[in-house]
């Protein structure tokens, strides 16, 4: 069959094409695959790979990607068909939650769709499509898009209550495991110096206990109605993150590894990372950290590495405040003799944060990035499980908020691309 593979598929996407013979435009197709049979009516649309189903995110939601840069010049593309194709793709997923990522980069006057097309598109997508969209990411937004979003914010809000709209730059997506962190909006804070926030003692300071309880309750009730931007206290988000980790039924570093970690001699070699991913040669019996926990930890450590220094929180400071939230003993009695090694271990993890990144590239850039963690939940009752999973859902939003307020200079310059 000629030309069927003219566009190479994304790695990991399911390359199972459906066998269809009819030429009806409404005929079914497998949206997860860009390789439609050449006689399929959507073949010429699909081959551009403008719309892709990139897989599942960490909450198991489908991620649908729209690449503006792959749009061919206007005259080469049947925009009506594109809309139908988009609808057809979405139709297969909108019944459950999904995330839409829009890569704005590459949209020029050459390939830009007409305004009337946008209007048609807006009309085509009724409530069915809006209901389950859980997040809309706009990557590489231009000033125009940003302004537009700010202007239309009230309208956007009213039809998609639960949708977080994130504006992110592409570089924040590298490495692939790192979720977007810095939505470039929100007014400057009183503590800002040259646009860089200095939140002294982030993760050390405490927040209003009643507010913390209230936010926890709201998360646990399953309502995603917490907006940290409204609360104006970045320490609140930080405390919630710590509380979440501390109140997990089992610590992120697991009881199983407790003894190994407490007795671990923290030297550059062997690295603590090798203990966690099970590649420690000298200690073959070591049980490695479960995959979800490892991914969450990797995300957390990478995130913390961005927070430090500028906020007076060095690696060792962060380790003091985070170590006891990452690991504790089964009897819950924390002895001072254990805290020392645990904090030391945490500090070494932060020092060797780069090893996590290397580890990702080694494992083929597989992008399982964050919560929900904790492996052995079998013995936990269901309610508890639901409670902290819901909590974990918004982890994303929370950490992005903290990152926003504690941006380092490099973050800022990243946003200005």
């Amino acid at each position: 069959m000629p030309c069927n593979n003219i566009c190479c598929g994304e790695e990991g996407s399911d390359v199972e094409s459906t066998d269809v013979t009819s030429t009806d435009i409404s005929q079914p197709f497998d949206a997860a695959s860009p390789h439609l049979p050449w006689d399929h009516p959507f073949y010429d649309i699909a081959r551009h790979q403008i719309i892709e189903v990139a897989g599942d995110d960490n909450y198991g939601r489908k991620v649908i990607v729209f690449n503006a840069c792959r749009m061919p010049p206007q005259h080469e593309l049947d925009h009506h068909k594109l809309l139908m194709y988009l609808k057809g793709t979405l139709d297969q997923y909108v019944e459950s939650d999904y995330t839409l990522i829009y890569f704005h980069h590459g949209l020029t006057s050459e390939n830009k769709p007409s305004l009337s097309w946008l209007r048609d598109a807006y009309r085509e997508f009724d409530r069915k499509y809006k209901k389950n969209i859980k997040a809309l990411y706009i990557v590489h937004p231009t000033m125009f898009i940003k302004t537009l979003l700010i202007l239309f914010k009230p309208i956007i809000r009213c039809f998609s209550y639960c949708t977080f709209t994130h504006l992110i730059s592409v570089s924040s997506l590298k490495p692939t495991t790192q979720p977007p962190m810095s939505p470039p909006r929100s007014p400057p804070l009183p503590n800002q110096v040259f646009g860089v926030s200095l939140i002294e003692g982030i993760f050390r300071r405490s927040a209003n206990v009643t507010l913390v309880k209230d936010v926890q309750l709201r998360y646990n009730s399953g309502k995603n109605t917490v907006d940290f931007r409204e609360m104006e206290d970045v320490h609140l988000a930080a405390v919630i993150l710590k509380t979440f980790l501390r109140e997990l039924p089992e610590p992120l570093l697991t009881y199983q590894l407790y003894n190994d970690i407490v007795n671990f001699t923290c030297t550059p070699t062997p690295s603590p990372v090798s203990l966690l991913n099970g590649s420690l040669v000298t200690c073959p019996r070591t049980i490695s950290l479960p995959e979800e926990n490892y991914a969450s930890l990797r995300y957390l450590i990478t995130f913390l590495a961005q927070v430090r220094e500028i906020n007076k929180m060095t690696n060792s400071n962060l380790a003091v405040v985070f170590g006891p939230n990452l690991l504790w003993g089964r009897d819950n009695a924390m002895s001072l003799s254990a805290i020392g090694p645990i904090n030391n271990f945490t500090r070494t993890l932060l020092d060797q944060q780069h090893l996590f990144v290397e580890d990702v590239t080694k494992s083929g850039g597989e992008s399982k990035g964050c919560f929900p963690p904790v492996s052995s939940t079998k013995d936990q009752n269901r309610d508890h499980l639901i409670a902290y999973c819901t909590f974990g859902l918004v982890y994303f939003d929370m950490t992005s908020h903290i990152a926003l307020h504690t941006c380092t200079v490099s973050n800022i310059s990243m946003l200005l691309i």
């Binding site: 050390r204 400071n317 924390m334």
Partner: protein, 198 residues
Amino acid sequence: MPEQSNDYRVVVFGAGGVGKSSLVLRFVKGTFRDTYIPTVEDTYRQVISCDKSVCTLQITDTTGSHQFPAMQRLSISKGHAFILVYSITSKQSLEELKPIYQQVLAIKGNVEAIPIMLVGNKSDETQREVETKDGEAQANQWKCAFMETSAKTNHNVTELFQELLNLDKKRNMSLNIDGKRSGKQSRAERLKGKCSVM
């Protein structure tokens, strides 16, 4: 509660970053560091005079960043006297002392016999969130003593510890090892109106 042992244990509680360590270090070493390091837990010892003899004043500087109920309970049950520190620049830090006070109350039962000092630290700071009268009111409610201090300018720091020792009626203690109790007589002069003792 442990009876008359040779150690007199003082435990310092308070939210993260209010200056617990700074207070303790200023008292023990007479220095002030402008660095920023959260504490895990440190204990300092100093010899003081006690009932015409000497004993060890043991000061436990706790962590403010995370609470482990078990560890906190242990410190409280072992402690003889408590210093509850907040920062006058943070109303929140005063709020955070409430559960700690409740915990002391729960473990010790009758707190009236226990020396407790509520301390508003960072009195040198200009961005005040907690007025002196607010601190006094809280201390009144808790039936404990109150003082404002500054570890940075060394204001009321030694006074704080001496006053705490004076609050203990069961022993006669003084920071001066010569055995002479200099506490009560010159108290009013020493405190310069910055302290109110119930």
